[in-house]
């Protein structure tokens, strides 16, 4: 079963993170590294990325065949996606346990969301 672990942040939690002493921030990064190694070794890691600051985001629209881009997230957006994991593990409880590890590692995280991934497979009906 594949799951995505979505890491959400918001300006307030981001400020909390930035205000942390460097040692605490470094410990968080090390915890991330350890989790990545654990998932890789177990053969459950499919992909992961931490995303750059939302101010660097581009909004993409296609209108009448023309690609139109805009800057940044919508002003009213409170939460932004800060990173994700795509993992392949036995069940959602395992994925939730990894989600909890992500939450522990990332002091600047507001919310972790675990969601099952859809497949192109189908049983007989």
């Amino acid at each position: 079963m594949q799951y995505v672990i979505l890491i959400y942040s918001n300006p307030a939690s981001r400020q909390t993170f930035d205000a942390l002493p460097p040692a605490r921030r470094k410990a968080g990064l090390n915890a991330f590294r350890a989790l990545n190694e654990q998932l890789t070794r177990s053969g459950e890691m499919l992909a992961t990325a931490l995303l750059a600051d939302p101010s660097l985001a581009k909004q993409v629209h296609v209108s009448h065949g023309q690609t139109v881009t805009g800057d940044g997230p919508f002003a009213e957006a409170k939460e932004h996606l800060a990173g994700f994991y795509l993992i392949d593990c036995d069940d959602i409880d395992t994925a939730i346990a990894y989600g909890a590890q992500v939450h522990e590692a990332a002091a600047g995280v507001d919310l972790i969301e675990v969601r099952p991934v859809m497949t192109f497979n189908a049983d007989e009906m």
């Binding site: 459950e44 890691m45 499919l46 992909a47 392949d88 036995d90 497949t119 192109f120 007989e124 009906m125």
Partner: protein, 406 residues
């Protein structure tokens, strides 16, 4: 690399044979397995031009042994023991039949110390002769992920202290059950796949059938081994009719039965008939018997539903599971009518595994539609569509909901 289908088959059939010879000689499963993969690769490169050698097993064993020794020599930690190994007597001709080697290898690869995902991966590589890349593409995961699973599986086998030998008799039933489960899961992964073509994905159904056949050769009198082989053949027989060219699903009731593979049905039916007559009954045999009844029916309506219901009741008492219960309820409704089916479904929902499951909603939608309650049926189809993790199934369920008259 593109090599001929026939050569590919030859190489895969050689895999367990060659690996068994090496493991018996050197004892080091992980290192031997790597060496055999390298020998298979060398054969795939050289044989198309040079021709298949007169003794392909001998060729592969020679090359694999050379690779193993090279690897072993380059391993500095083991250098000191080199002399000891060099003094070993070369082994005589293989005294054990190939079928027994395959069985021993299957049991080693499906060792209980491994996770199911690792068992499947190492089985396909060590017994099936597939490359890591092929296995990764078959399961739609990155090659690095699959390489990690295989390496972890080998470490787990080593750490467990498992030897290349038949497990003690008291462990045999459990070990065989694990092998059957791995072959069942591998088949299912291939059968449920609706995307990917033969060009990009190995046919896991064909691979599972081939390995189950080998297991059946080793244990021809085991009813559950025969049952699993029959189940695979009887299920795979319907594959040509189960989806439209665009990948859209066709339910059993609407499949064009003329497109079913009659040869596979004949073979599967004969296998399950023989097993049921001779061996104690088990879950795979019951599932095969149900599949045989479907395959022999001229139409969905003309299916022997009373007998299918009896078989599902037996299966539910022998190996209970939420999906078995749902299938039993479908059969119940076919025999006793949709209202009776809805009644059974309401009772079954006490099981948390079935409450709010997309399949439960889909079955209720179908039964409500049969009773004429189209509004309730539509709502249930929509709930099922929201909850499924399968994209083709979601499209199908949405189409069913949309097709109901307002």
């Amino acid at each position: 690399m593109i090599i001929g289908r026939e050569l590919e088959q030859t190489l895969r059939e050689q895999t367990p044979r060659v690996l068994a010879v090496l493991v018996r000689r050197y004892g080091d499963f992980a290192g031997c397995e790597d060496a055999v993969q390298q020998a298979l690769l060398a054969a795939a490169e050289q044989w198309p031009a040079a021709g298949v050698p007169a003794n392909p097993t001998g060729w592969l064993v020679r090359v694999a042994a050379r690779r193993w020794v090279e690897q072993w020599r380059s391993d500095a930690a083991r250098r000191r023991r080199e002399e000891l190994a060099a003094s070993r007597q070369p082994p005589g001709p293989n005294p054990v039949p190939d079928t027994e080697d395959t069985l021993t290898l299957l049991m080693l690869c499906c060792h209980p110390a491994l996770t199911p995902a690792s068992q499947i991966a190492i089985t396909l590589r060590a017994v099936g002769g597939l490359s890591t890349g092929e296995i990764a593409r078959a399961f739609l995961v990155p090659e690095a992920t699959m390489a990690q699973r295989i390496s972890r599986a080998k470490q787990a086998i080593k750490a467990s202290g498992a030897q290349f030998s038949t497990p003690p008799p008291e462990e045999l039933p459990d070990r065989l059950a694990a092998v059957l489960h791995v072959l069942y899961l591998t088949f299912n992964e291939g059968y449920t796949a609706t995307s990917g073509t033969a060009l990009t994905r190995v046919d896991l159904t064909a691979e599972a059938i081939r390995l189950t056949r080998q297991l059946h050769d080793a244990l021809p009198d085991n009813g559950e081994v025969t049952g699993l082989l029959a189940l695979q053949l009887l299920t795979d027989a319907r594959r040509p009719a189960r989806a439209r060219p665009d990948g859209a699903l066709i339910p059993l009731a609407e499949q064009d039965r003329a497109r079913w593979d009659t040869q596979a049905i004949t073979e599967g039916t004969a296998l399950i008939g023989g097993a049921l007559a001779a061996a104690p009954v088990g879950p795979y045999q019951l599932q095969a018997a149900i599949a045989a009844l479907h395959d022999e029916a001229a139409s969905y309506q003309a299916t022997d539903w009373p007998q299918i219901l009896t078989l599902y009741q037996l299966l539910e008492s022998l190996a209970p599971g939420p999906m078995i219960t749902l299938n039993r309820i479908i059969a119940h409704a076919m025999v006793h009518g949709p209202a009776a089916g809805l009644h059974e479904l309401a009772a079954a929902e006490a099981d948390p595994a079935l409450a709010d499951h997309h399949r439960t909603h889909a079955v209720r939608a179908h039964l409500l539609d049969e009773t004429g309650d189209t509004d309730a049926a539509r709502a249930e189809y929509q709930l099922a569509a929201q909850r499924t993790l399968s994209i083709p199934e979601q499209l199908y369920l949405q189409a069913r909901a949309a097709a109901l008259p307002h």
